[in-house]
């Protein structure tokens, strides 16, 4: 994907001395130009739509069912599709509280939303097992 950008909107940089050591942080925010951002959004959206149909379309190039590619130097790369994304989903439970869980794959996320309740996410008798507010 072309990464030349039309403008840098803002740069958030903080440099602080903490415990005698300089600490630099850099987060740069930039806006792609309209055409470029539309292209990126379209690629992501196409991959998302494909994932809902059980199909795999790469999030970057739109390649159908992207497979590993080997370079001449022996490096192997693979473009990922939206089915590999991690999703945060929320629901208001029977007590009126919001529960949030992280789920890998759009299909699983949508299944969680239509289920009567989130599957309990505990693996030992734990704080979550009987954690109710009333």
């Amino acid at each position: 994907m072309k990464l030349s950008l039309s403008k840098i909107v803002a740069v958030g940089v903080a440099t602080l001395g903490l415990a005698g050591a300089a600490q630099a942080q850099n987060v740069i925010v930039r806006s792609l130009d309209a055409a470029e951002s539309a292209k990126v959004r379209a690629a992501i959206e196409a991959s998302m739509q494909a994932a809902t149909r059980g199909q795999r379309i790469g999030m970057v190039t739109g390649t159908v069912d992207p497979q590993p590619q080997m370079s001449r130097n022996g490096m192997v790369s693979q473009e990922l599709d939206a089915s590999t994304l991690m999703f945060s989903v929320a629901r208001v439970n029977a007590e009126g509280r919001v529960e949030m869980v992280c789920i890998n794959s759009l299909e699983s996320a949508q299944a969680a939303l239509t289920a009567p309740a989130f599957a309990k996410r505990f693996s030992l008798p734990s704080k979550e097992q009987l954690n109710v507010s009333k």
């Binding site: 909107v9 803002a10 740069v11 958030g12 940089v13 602080l16 903490l18 415990a19 300089a22 600490q23 850099n26 987060v27 806006s31 792609l32 309209a34 951002s37 539309a38 990126v40 959004r41 992501i44 970057v60 590993p68 370079s71 130097n73 490096m75 192997v76 790369s77 693979q78 473009e79 990922l80 991690m86 999703f87 945060s88 989903v89 629901r91 208001v92 529960e99 949030m100 869980v101 992280c102 890998n104 794959s105 759009l106 996320a109 949508q110 939303l113 309990k120 996410r121 505990f122 693996s123 030992l124 008798p125 734990s126 704080k127 979550e128 097992q129 009987l130 954690n131 507010s133 009333k134």
Partner: protein
């Protein structure tokens, strides 16, 4: 430069400084540049000009500004923690996502490409997430470079028909109340995009196109006594549903366990001249509010709280003079029922109690949930039977003295969320839970971790010990 743009610069710099002061001194030498690509169209998402009231340290005055400031803030936490000479580029947008009045997709994030056998790879024939591969190679490894992470969050959250009462909280202070803390959600999802994820199928055990992920060198099947990289697909799949048998063996996380996870379970020890048959140690349930019980905690005379009127519920009303006299400077014993646990705790605290024990009104141990950030005394739950035992011991009390001492502490010989050898447990419930299994820390951990499957309300924004082990896992895989 327009006034709004000047504002944006100032506000983003402010978000950076606040993040920088967040106790990240443990990574004083860390430095990674994160580039946020705002891919929203004009007027929407990060560019939404709807007026907004500054909240929780976020000084933005439009919805778009607040989103960008909060995103920058979360990115800055990672920027200050990770080290890479290659900028980490994140495509970011807010768009309408699946939503209803009671459920919704909050957002998503993930790596755009994965790589194996690149110059600098620490393990051969092994998949690495794009950003980590770049870090290890010291250059952008891709022949077709792209941003390393895609992210997308729900722009409709909090609007009519879309979890309206639980919209995004864009404050930077973790005081989200009943709303959803955007910073916490983004921190978590960005963590996955940076490499907190195996690309091996946990359900089938199949490697991605025949290659293990870097995670698989540290995921350990207790039953097979093998790391995933050496196990069969059947063994990997079995360990994904082994409940307590999927272990992380990386040295960074293992070394962090003692400083992050509690050694033992919360417990109440009962003693005193009037304790009688009630004397002993009771395993207790942790509360989701008030200070956690991490070791020796409060100790004081235990006093029951009388119901102030039939059906009013134990501790549900501001304490009257008799209950106030009973609990001031002491530990209050209340029954579950009628009102929320946090209400009971707050009333007891306002009356001067130093701690609260809530007895269940049904079978089983009770872990009092809910929340109230103003509760500053520890709260633990016990079983109904234990509560009855204590009430029997308290029958000989005076109005302000019981002779029964309740001491909060921990009991046991295992870190909460680790195996007997002190190694962190990963999330492996049975049945397999689509997508949540494997690529998260086990949810039994106490204290709660950023990368547990549930995004809990008591996270601190830190990704370092003694609060959190996320960065230690990242170090194990090469960050």
């Amino acid at each position: 430069m327009s006034a709004s743009k000047r504002f944006t610069l100032k506000a983003l710099a402010s978000a950076s400084v606040i993040a920088c002061t967040l106790g990240i001194a443990g990574q004083a030498q860390a430095a990674a540049t994160i580039i946020i690509n705002n891919i929203n169209q004009p007027g929407v998402g990060f560019n939404d000009t709807t007026p907004a009231v500054p909240v929780g340290g976020n000084t933005g005055t439009t919805l778009g500004q607040q989103r960008l400031i909060a995103f920058t803030y979360a990115a800055n936490i990672w920027s200050a923690t990770l080290t890479s000479s290659v900028p980490i580029i994140v495509n970011a947008q807010f768009t309408p996502l699946t939503c209803s009045a009671t459920t919704g997709v909050l957002g998503s994030a993930g790596a755009t490409q994965i790589f194996a056998d690149f110059a600098g790879a620490q393990r051969p024939n092994t998949w690495y997430a794009y950003a980590l591969a770049n870090k290890l190679a010291g250059t952008n490894v891709a022949t077709s470079p792209s941003p390393q992470i895609n992210s997308n969050f729900n722009s409709n959250l909090g609007t009519p028909g879309c979890l309206q009462a639980s919209g995004w909280y864009y404050g930077l202070d973790g005081q989200e109340g009943t709303r959803i803390d955007f910073v916490a959600v983004l921190q978590h999802e960005m963590g996955h995009g940076l490499g907190f994820q195996t690309f091996t199928n946990g359900s089938t055990g199949a490697f991605n196109n025949g290659r293990p992920s870097i995670w698989d060198h540290f995921l350990f099947s207790a039953a097979a006594n093998k790391n995933w990289v050496d196990a069969t697909a059947t063994e990997r799949a079995a360990s994904s549903i082994s409940i307590n048998g999927l272990i992380w063996t990386g040295p960074g996380v293992t070394a962090a366990v003692p400083s992050v996870l509690r050694f033992g379970q919360a417990a109440v020890t009962i003693s005193g001249v009037a304790a009688g048959a009630g004397a002993g140690t009771y395993i207790a349930g942790d509360s989701s509010f008030g200070p956690p019980v991490l070791g020796t905690s409060i100790s004081g005379q235990l006093m029951p709280v009388a119901e102030q009127g039939a059906g009013a519920g134990s501790g549900c009303l501001p304490f009257n003079a008799a209950n106030t006299l009973a609990v001031t400077g002491r530990v209050a014993l209340v029954d579950r029922g009628i009102c929320g646990f946090a209400v009971k705790a707050k009333n007891a605290q306002n009356a001067g109690a130093i701690g609260v024990i809530i007895a269940n009104n049904a079978a089983g141990l009770l872990a009092p949930g809910g929340g109230d950030p103003l509760v500053t005394i520890p709260v633990l739950g016990i079983t109904q039977a234990q509560g009855n035992t204590l009430k029997t011991a308290l029958q000989t009390r005076s109005r302000a003295r019981s002779g029964v001492i309740a001491s909060f502490g921990v009991f046991g010989t295992q870190y909460t969320g680790a195996d007997l050898l002190g190694r962190a447990q990963m999330f492996a419930p049975n049945p397999f839970q689509g997508g949540s299994s494997v690529s998260h820390f086990g949810s039994a951990m106490f204290r709660n971790q950023l990368m547990e499957p549930a995004i809990n309300a008591d996270l601190t924004q830190s990704v370092l010990p003694p609060q959190d082990m996320t960065f230690r896992l990242f170090q194990d895989i090469g960050w």
